[in-house]
């Protein structure tokens, strides 16, 4: 394989990280908490899609919609039950709760689906495109296209709609936002809904590219996407997107040219270096686009 093809598959992997990272960064920006269960919402989304496609034999589009809906409900319910009662608790208590929710989801999946990985049928029809002498798979192209589309829609939603503005206001000053008549609780719910919906999309793309699913499917992409969000500046939407893509490219290239065992270490090494140079991450200071 050529450099170009590694690069493109890096962008594709990075697009998935970016979609997941958006969930981390938006929740952090608005609820000021790290939702460590986010990675496991991805895994649940994957299982829901798997069940719908393979077990129930639903059409692909319907299965994806069911998966998105299931994740949205899951995300909102987790927030209501686990995080909302802790709105004024210490960050440590919230963090521990989030880790607890993460284990709970993993164990529920273990109980229902068992620990063995199941093979996932790709939702993308088989096709590939020749570009500059390299063949690019349908999954790669669809992943990048979907991510770009989602990012555009999300920016329009946040910057142009009333609910989007409310999110920006809450992220900056909860008290002042309430004085404007903004319901902070429902804004936080909306944020969890969007983040979890994006997680479902990411999970379907992820499981299509690496066609299998297990209770631990969400763990590593979750941590990588979190890294991407921190790398880009947690709380920043453009930061999460760029951080995700850059991370995907670094991972893909270091797998190809250095060592596939070391690639994760290299990814986290880059994060550490970036944080040493810029503790706020790449976009941590860019206020006007921060959520």
């Amino acid at each position: 394989m050529s450099f170009f093809s590694y690069f493109v598959s890096g962008i594709s992997l990075g697009s998935i990280y970016a979609l997941i990272a958006l969930g981390y960064t938006m929740v952090y920006g608005i609820a000021k908490m790290l939702n460590f269960a986010h990675g496991d919402v991805i895994m649940i989304g994957g299982y829901v899609a798997f069940t719908a496609i393979t077990t129930m034999q639903f059409p692909v589009w319907l299965s994806i919609c069911i998966s998105i809906l299931a994740c949205i409900i899951l995300g909102v319910v987790i927030e209501k039950i686990a995080y909302k009662p802790l709105r004024n608790a210490t960050p440590l208590a919230i963090l521990i709760t989030a880790i607890g929710v993460s284990y709970l989801l993993q164990n529920v999946a273990l109980l229902i689906f068992g620990s063995a990985a199941k093979s996932f049928t790709s939702v993308v029809p088989k096709f590939s495109v020749e570009l500059g002498g390299v063949s690019i798979t349908g999954e790669t192209i669809v992943t990048i296209a979907v991510a770009v589309l989602i990012v555009i829609c999300l920016s329009i939603f946040i910057n142009k709609t009333k609910s989007g503005r409310a999110m920006l206001a809450v992220s900056e000053d909860k008290g002042a936002a309430q004085l404007m008549g903004i319901n902070v609780n429902s804004t936080i719910s909306l944020t969890f809904a969007i983040g979890s919906g994006l997680a479902a999309v990411a999970s379907v793309l992820l499981c299509s590219t690496y066609p299998q699913i297990s209770p631990y499917t969400g763990a590593m992409p979750g941590i990588k996407a979190f890294t991407a969000a921190v790398f880009g500046g947690i709380g920043s939407i453009p930061g999460a997107m760029i951080g995700g893509v850059v991370l995907g490219i670094i991972e893909s290239l270091s797998k190809a040219y250095i060592s596939s065992e070391l690639s994760d270490a290299i990814v986290f090494g880059v994060l550490i270096i970036v944080l040493l140079v810029r503790p706020t991450g790449l976009f941590g200071k860019k206020f006007n686009e921060k959520v």
């Binding site: 920006l168 900056e172 008290g175 002042a176 309430q178 004085l179 404007m180 008549g181 206020f287 921060k290």
Partner: protein
């Protein structure tokens, strides 16, 4: 219009407001003065629901609003210009003003309110596309007031509108408060510039460590010996 009855507020175990009662009538400008830490901001936050009182009641036009959450207060006709302005720094002037009208659905009415705000603060119109965080302190205060006026409130609560402003700007801001009041908005004003606040107010209450110690006609308080000594620096 607004009635506060025996309100007590705690921060943890510390009692910040120790049974405060007062009243703001339709059309009045009421000044609430007192030294640092007296509890003025706490009272305003309690009225708009950002803090809940331990006991006591708050009525807005005879509706008990004591337990109504903060985000529902503005649609009942009360707007609050908070201490320290708390504008949305990362958004533009225009976006801030639109957020002030967040609860309104009628586009025409929002347009009208915007015209009203621009009439009183032409500077905001000139700078409508500027990021609010880059405005000068005075302009930020104008924005905070403009944002509150965007909901067309019946009663406006203002916390330290003159903080950090030059004397000329202070006069300008107080002039605008008078105009807004003349347009029919009831005003509850907290300010350290007691002299200015008393000079535009109808009545005033003096707050000391969580208790109202003095109240009455603003002009009389302006000449009261103890007020002069404690708050007017004379």
């Amino acid at each position: 219009m607004l009635r506060v009855e025996n309100v007590e507020v705690y921060y943890g175990v510390i009692k910040a407001i120790k049974g405060v009662s007062f009243e703001v009538n339709q059309g009045e400008i009421i000044a609430l003065i007192g030294s640092n830490g007296a509890g003025k901001t706490t009272i305003l936050h309690t009225i708009t629901g950002l803090i809940s009182p331990k006991s006591g009641s708050i009525y807005l036009e005879d509706t008990d609003i004591t337990k109504i959450p903060a985000h529902k207060i503005v649609s009942m006709g009360m707007a609050h210009v908070p201490e320290g302005r708390r504008i949305f720094q990362e958004l533009t002037v225009y976006e801030n003003l639109q957020l002030g009208a967040f609860i309104m659905k009628d586009k025409k009415q929002i347009e009208k309110n915007l015209e009203y705000v621009y009439k009183h603060f032409p500077r905001l119109k000139e700078r409508k596309n500027q990021i609010a965080g880059t405005l000068s302190g005075g302009e930020q205060q104008m924005l905070a007031m403009g944002r509150a006026l965007m909901s067309n409130p019946k009663i406006l609560l203002m916390d330290e509108p003159s903080m950090g402003l030059s004397p000329i700007l202070v006069s300008e801001i107080f002039q605008i408060i008078k105009e807004v009041s003349a347009d029919g908005t009831t005003v509850l004003l907290v300010d350290h510039n007691a002299k200015k606040a008393l000079s535009i107010a109808d009545r005033a209450y003096v707050l000391e460590t969580g208790k109202i110690v003095l109240s009455g006609d603003a002009k009389e308080l302006l000449n009261d010996e103890s007020v002069k000594k404690a708050y007017l620096g004379e």
